[in-house]
Symmetry: C2
Subunit: 245 residues, 2 copies
DNA sequence: GAGTGGTCTAGACCACTGC
DNA sequence: CAGTGGTCTAGACCACTCG
């Protein structure tokens, strides 16, 4: 690994190049979610830089939730099956602040062709194969969230209602373990909407009552969109929490 | 500055102690928002540590939005009057993703005594003085947000409707410049609610139509709550955007 | 005790800003 | 040009984990 000469308008420090190489290895599956990656000194030798430079690269990757550092043990590939990550993408609490565990109840799962909007959101071509999942999330036995989920057909080919029913754990954990699709970040758009007939029935609220609409696009490595979903949240007893820095 | 001996269950690295000292200086008003703080080497001399240690302290403070680094120029105290910070606490966009500027239209501003909830949220005693502000936020001339804002009476003593009307810029900018109250972070709870009569009138929507309710507590240095507000957002043409890491 | 990440230092050099 | 933050290195030592 040679230092990129400076003198350039597109200057990229060494540690960012190392970061890129580590990302590449992660994307290529060299280390799987939940596993340890080599120690900093090993990586330093491998890339021919000092340990401090590797350190800075790993620091950034850890800050961006790709990696998880644990003093004395090593650095691990982030996993949605790690209990620590369970609430990373689900920001729902009771109104009083209590955090409950949820249960996913899959309703439907079918194959379709991408329409205009799904194609744009998933970065695929019109009429490319997609898979659509509908499910309800229950908290304390009560339905709170109705999700409609659009997935790239190529990546999630074998997904079925049975698979969804058997799986214990979060959907993202399933995507990661069974399909090698590791969601790294997501963008959400929130609005308030009125419940239509079917949503009202499934969430056991009155037709026309206000629901929180959460539209989300989830990305894997390299900003590849993998999932587009729309959730309707009943906020009678729950709320979506957010932290502003 | 001597290194804290280890052997302790409450081990705190040197750079965190330096971070605390810098925070203390910021809180004490040694440097004002928008100003430069001393260079890293100056701070290193002042605190009797190496430049690298100061660097790590400043890094964390910059990551938490207390400070803003600018290569070649120096490190600055964050300010809500800096254009860069205008959208830090207002996550509203057009549905198509465009970001518009907003105009604040103050409606009312009166003194009151803290009730049960306001007292708890603001960390003050029941019946302590508070100030309540109501205002509408307009985007492209249309009302989109109705805010009801509860402020600590001690800190915001002189606030009046005239002050609010004269001020050009964000409320947080006003709080910072005129009252020395610098909001550093905030916690929000989002729900969907039905518009009541007055909200419907002010936001020019139908009574009962769904609105996004955003309840926010804003904190200053040392996690001191300074403001509690509830916003009702009309999401017909706008949405609240969020990024999940 | 060996191995990991975490802290701290000192020094050299680079990139950016403004005079 | 001087001054700032940004990068990179090498080495010493500390805290944590586990066998």
């Amino acid at each position: 690994m040679r230092r990129m000469v400076s003198e350039s308008p597109t200057f990229s420090p060494l540690y960012r190049q190392i970061k890129g190489l580590i990302l590449q290895a992660l994307d290529g599956g060299e280390w799987r979610p939940g596993e340890v990656i080599p120690s900093e000194t090993e990586l330093a030798v491998r890339f021919g830089v000092s340990q401090g430079t590797v350190r800075k690269a790993v620091d950034e990757l850890a800050a961006e939730n790709y990696l998880l550092r644990r003093q004395g043990k090593g650095t691990f590939v982030s996993s949605h099956n790690d209990p620590r990550a369970f609430f990373r993408f689900l920001r729902l609490q009771r109104l009083n602040g209590d955090v409950e565990t949820s249960r996913s109840v899959p309703l439907e799962c079918w194959r379709a062709k991408a329409g205009q909007e799904a194609a744009r959101m998933l970065g695929i071509q019109l009429a490319d194969p997609i898979i659509i999942v509908r499910r309800v999330l229950e908290f304390a036995g009560k339905p709170v969230v109705l999700d409609e989920i659009y997935l790239r057909g190529d990546t999630f080919a074998g997904l079925s209602l049975d698979t969804l029913r058997e799986w214990q754990g979060s959907l993202y954990g399933l995507f990661e373990s069974r399909f090698g699709a590791r969601m790294v970040r997501a963008e959400e758009k929130l609005r308030a909407v009125a419940a239509d007939r079917t949503a009202a029935d499934l969430l056991k609220v009155q037709e026309g009552s206000p629901l929180l609409s959460v539209e989300r696009v989830s990305y894997s490595y390299g900003d590849r969109p993998m999932e587009w979903r729309r959730g309707l949240y009943s906020t009678a007893e729950h709320c979506y929490v957010n932290e502003l820095g």
